[in-house]
Symmetry: C2
Subunit: 448 residues, 2 copies
């Protein structure tokens, strides 16, 4: 039995609802369905979630909000009208939104979370309604009813372990169960949302909880590409990827997947299939625990900009036990996370997302490094990009690094940093941000 | 004015003493001379320092030590006889040794340090004696008299900052001043030796203290080679190196220099010249603050075996602020120093000298990693070698990494790890220990 999750663009309007209904009902194994809020219908459209955030803002600022509320209901109205559904559901939706506003108008964080969550919640009700009208047994199941319990961190919920036991009981229910993505309930009964993109997380949690044979993630591309298609035109499509590869890729600039979403299925070894709602016949990309990587040791190339490097040097640094640990402690005290720490005998670099040094933080961090670590020199190198070459077969393949570095040399790109560990599935290269596209295209040429 | 330091092989016997005297007296600027203990005269000879350690052991174990004492004095006797020096100096040496034994026989650490130091001390007296006999004004100056004060850590002395002020006063003295290497005096008046190879340290401290224009380090090779001559036959000789390059190279397997010896001269920007006592006409290798590296971005290739890598992986590791810091804290608690920490998104490797995990340490470290960090996997990869490609010009040169990795591929050597930081003068490669010579030879081919 399968869990099928449909992203925002898959449920953006009536035509998409019809495609989704066809997909769900064409395979009896698709018993659990997770839906997002309506996404964009055309390029410059506003996503439902953004409308809802705007609505929450108006309410919080005590502004006239009715205009935005009308826009929200109008999006559902369009779907209801186009699908010729009974219009009672619109009253249910309107009443529900008004009730959230009345209940939480003086609790800004709660209001924001509740309104954001309503995008998925109402869409799930609509989908169940539609399937029933088509003659199928379909039930809306709220996350509370399903048993998705989370930590009480508005906008950043983490699933609580007891949820999985609760979710397993959904197997006893009949019909197609439609569950809204993106949120759960705290132990005290509040709606709390996952980080953005969190419908992927809900799908993954449900798949883990019910013990699905497959977690299908329906989106609007035929498959995952081996490189960002905005850098390389028509790049090759990936048939199969491992969890580890997917995670490395999605972390460094691949936007198909919210990069933490896979944890629940990864832990249980449930395979994931990324498919296209608009072309469900395409095989999609399978994400699995292991793959035969002899033919294609490299799975993909990811890249992201916005990094900087703090470079410190101190004569005889390597004789100072604890130097690296103390440098990392200073960053930790400031709540800064880092990506890599390449080091020489007497120097060490820490690569991190540049935005973390905003405002006063940079001055404080540098001050502490100079004063507490008594370094000879400290400097910050800005505008760096990281490029990750990812593949399970890399660690056992002679010549992978040679191909990559030759590509950089041919593209006349200077490599600022290289980082490759012993048991790793990726090789990291740091380059200047303005050289990243050139470098990625050169890497694509040699590997694909 | 120059400081000239002569290593053990340069002062091993009378013939070498003559060469050294010629070198010293051929340049009036050579006012300060630091000498080692007599080194090996032939391949299987015993160094004076090892004889003295054997002597100390006999005394400490209450064994008959007179036989070894005779051997020690016999080494000096040979030099005295061959140089036709007055034999009174031998009485001075014998009496001095006996006095040390009598004073320290029940303080094993002090006895060991005092006897070890006597090798250099008596040789300095001998050299001054010889120069005077040749008609030059030459004075033996003990480290106490010179003002070399050190921390009271037997066998591991660190120079105290006040020494430099004291040493500066030596400029006021007349004649050639002969100072024994390898030891200083603690504030309470005890002889304390530097780490082994510490005559280089004495020379460097003296050069810094007297503000020398040049620190000449006389040894038994014409110059520093760009790669270990036991791996590559007749490798190219280096005319010029920077301190940073020298330090990276000497750290990873280059034995010309004790790798911390350069700090005092480095701090004051005093250039170092490594020269050959047996061929003083050869220009030697200059170690300087900066060099023009456009022609030769890579200075040398060093390698060393005996490393291992602790590899840990944990899903979502990079979201855990403080993970890396806590892993390093565990190692620090065990007094373990590490070389590099290449990392991926969900894994981190720590490369360290294998010997540090001896006995119970490995079990304790692994236990703590599993229990405190809750990792998914931890393993130790053994028998690794590190290869450092070192050069000031590397960070600004496109294609350096490409050449290196292509060399590895051609030699069919798998690269286990790569580490190159942003402002670094070296690129580190980790390979299996049994592949290191093959890899170094391949690198030599591409760079030299």
């Amino acid at each position: 039995m399968k869990v099928a999750k449909f992203g925002g663009s898959s449920v953006a309007n009536a035509a998409q609802f019809q495609k989704v209904a066809n997909i769900i009902t064409s395979d009896e194994a698709r018993k659990f369905v997770v839906v997002s809020a309506p996404g964009k219908r055309f390029k410059d459209d506003t996503k439902m979630t953004d409308l809802l955030i705007a609505l929450a803002k108006k309410v919080i600022e005590n502004n006239i909000y009715e205009g935005v509320l009308v826009q929200v209901v109008a999006r559902y109205d369009e779907i209801v009208t186009d699908l010729q559904l009974s219009r009672d559901i619109l009253d249910v939706i309107s009443a529900h939104l008004q009730q959230l506003i009345d209940t939480y108008h003086d609790q800004p964080e709660r209001l924001l979370d509740a309104l954001k969550a309503s995008g998925e919640d109402n869409n799930a009700k609509l989908m169940a309604h539609y399937l029933r009208q088509l003659g199928y047994e379909a039930h809306y199941v709220s996350p509370k009813d399903a048993g998705i319990f989370v930590t009480d961190e508005p906008g950043n919920a983490q699933v609580l372990p007891e949820s999985y036991e609760q979710l397993a009981k959904l197997n006893e229910r009949s019909g197609i169960l439609i569950i809204p993505g993106f949120f759960g309930y705290s132990r005290s009964g509040h709606i709390v949302t996952f980080p953005r993109g969190g419908s992927d997380i809900t799908g993954s949690i449900v798949a883990a909880g019910v013990g699905a044979e497959l977690y299908e993630n329906f989106t609007d591309v035929d498959s995952i590409y081996c490189v960002n298609p905005s850098i390389v035109e028509h790049p090759c499509q990936l048939k199969e990827l491992t969890y580890r590869e997917m995670r490395e890729l999605s972390y460094a600039g691949f936007s198909v997947f919210h990069d933490e979403a896979l944890e629940p299925v990864y832990r249980r070894g449930i395979p994931v299939c990324v498919k296209n709602t608009n072309n469900p016949e395409a095989p999609g990309t399978m994400i699995v625990a292991t793959r035969d990587h002899r033919e294609r040791p490299v799975a993909g190339i990811a890249s992201d900009t916005g990094f900087c490097s703090i470079n410190v040097s101190k004569y005889l640094m390597n004789r100072e036990i604890g130097f690296g640990r103390r440098l990392l402690q200073i960053l930790e005290d400031e709540g800064i996370s880092y990506e890599h720490t390449p080091s020489g005998i007497d120097n060490m670099s820490v690569i991190l997302r540049e935005e973390q040094l905003a405002g006063d933080v940079e001055r404080r961090v540098l001050h502490r490094i100079v004063n507490e670590l008594r370094v000879d020199e400290v400097s910050i190198e800005r505008d760096l990009a990281l490029i990750m070459v990812v593949g399970e077969g890399m660690e056992r393949s002679v010549g992978i690094a040679a191909k990559a570095t030759a590509a950089f040399a041919r593209a006349n790109v200077n490599i600022e940093m290289i980082n490759q560990g012993s048991s790793e599935v990726s090789m990291m290269f740091g380059v200047k941000a303005d050289a990243v596209e050139k470098a990625v295209r050169a890497l694509y040429e040699v590997y694909f």
